[in-house]
Assembly symmetry: C2
Homo-oligomer: 206 residues x 2
């Protein structure tokens, strides 16, 4: 028995730590939940609320958003179409690395182009990727104008504002669609949790 056990240990001993090893330690799979929608639609608010819920359930999470990416990794990029594409490419690559580390990664960026979101999905793998479209209409986003960006853009100070001068290509088949202008946040959150949680075994399951 001891010899069999030793042979088994030898056989299963990792030469390097893999995604599977890290997921086993965490008790759940790594994945990417990709929020997309106009500025002011409620992406960051919903992603943040989701992270709070997942963390409270003992899941390992990280939220990539403008605050921690645009000021750091992508601070060399502007808002031209080419820079937006490179912005999304790098975010997708970082999200993939973090998923490989066993984390549930939420990304909250406008990510206006269908092609770039498809690139992100392909890079991360369809089976790991959930697209959440926050479909709050432009009028509502502009009326809220939490960051004052629409006002700035209307007055000509922001030349590439998505929805005004630069297109937003809505997802055709998002995994989840939420219009945050009507539904209360708690109800929208339930809708996301309903999709996200069944895929995650409870923390106690190895």
């Amino acid at each position: 028995m001891a010899i069999l056990q030793a042979a088994h240990d030898l056989h299963t001993q990792a030469l390097s730590i893999t995604r599977r090893d890290r997921e086993r330690m965490g008790g759940h799979k790594g994945r990417v939940i990709w929020f997309t929608g106009l500025s002011g639609s409620g992406k960051s608010t919903m992603a943040n609320a989701l992270e709070l819920e997942l963390h409270a359930r003992g899941l390992r999470t990280y939220l990539l958003d403008g605050d921690n990416v645009r000021q750091g990794l992508n601070k060399d990029l502007g808002f031209t179409d080419a820079d937006r594409v490179e912005n999304i490419r790098r975010i997708a690559e970082v999200a993939r690395l973090m998923m490989d580390a066993g984390l549930i990664v939420m990304t909250a960026f406008i990510s206006p182009f269908r092609r770039e979101r498809e690139m992100a999905r392909a890079l991360i793998g369809s089976e790991n990727f959930l697209e959440v479209y926050i479909s709050t209409p432009l009028e509502v986003c502009e009326q809220r104008d939490v960051k004052g960006l629409y006002k700035k853009a209307r007055s000509g100070l922001l030349p590439n504002m998505t929805g005004l001068h630069s297109p937003y290509e809505a997802p055709e088949h998002p995994d989840i669609e939420l219009d945050c202008s009507n539904a209360p946040a708690a109800q929208s959150l339930e809708k996301i949790l309903h999709v996200v949680l069944p895929h995650q075994p409870s923390q106690s399951a190895p």
Copy 2:
């Protein structure tokens, strides 16, 4: 009592999940262990061995190296001096994000320039940053030539080989220095663990 407790809960309830929250869940601090040294010096081998040891102790780890970064996030970069600088900048930014996620991040890149390593340290924060200099001499690295790069470089096929055509600026005050040409790997590993582990509370301590 119940009211006091409720007030306390309200007060301590997070509005968003912070690095401290993630570290508390993991039972240890996030940090960055930065390996530097010539090609073939043993950086990846040592970083990989370290990750195995830390993972076995229940710590949450990730290893950034050429395999997962040069093919993905940094695949648009070559080996000119400017590209090497941008390569290290992005790695430092990603390591910082992963540390913020509560992970112990190991990076295994030549990172030949002192200034870029100092930039990485400043960005990540001195208190979070350990520089491990793998000081295996060039002659030994070239004799091993695991990837055949030195041979390629000597024959003129690799124009920017560190140590031959491009400088390697050795750290002046590394936190750890290991010459992997003499010491057995196990002994070198002990030396790193001796420095890394005292900083980490055991997993059971919240």
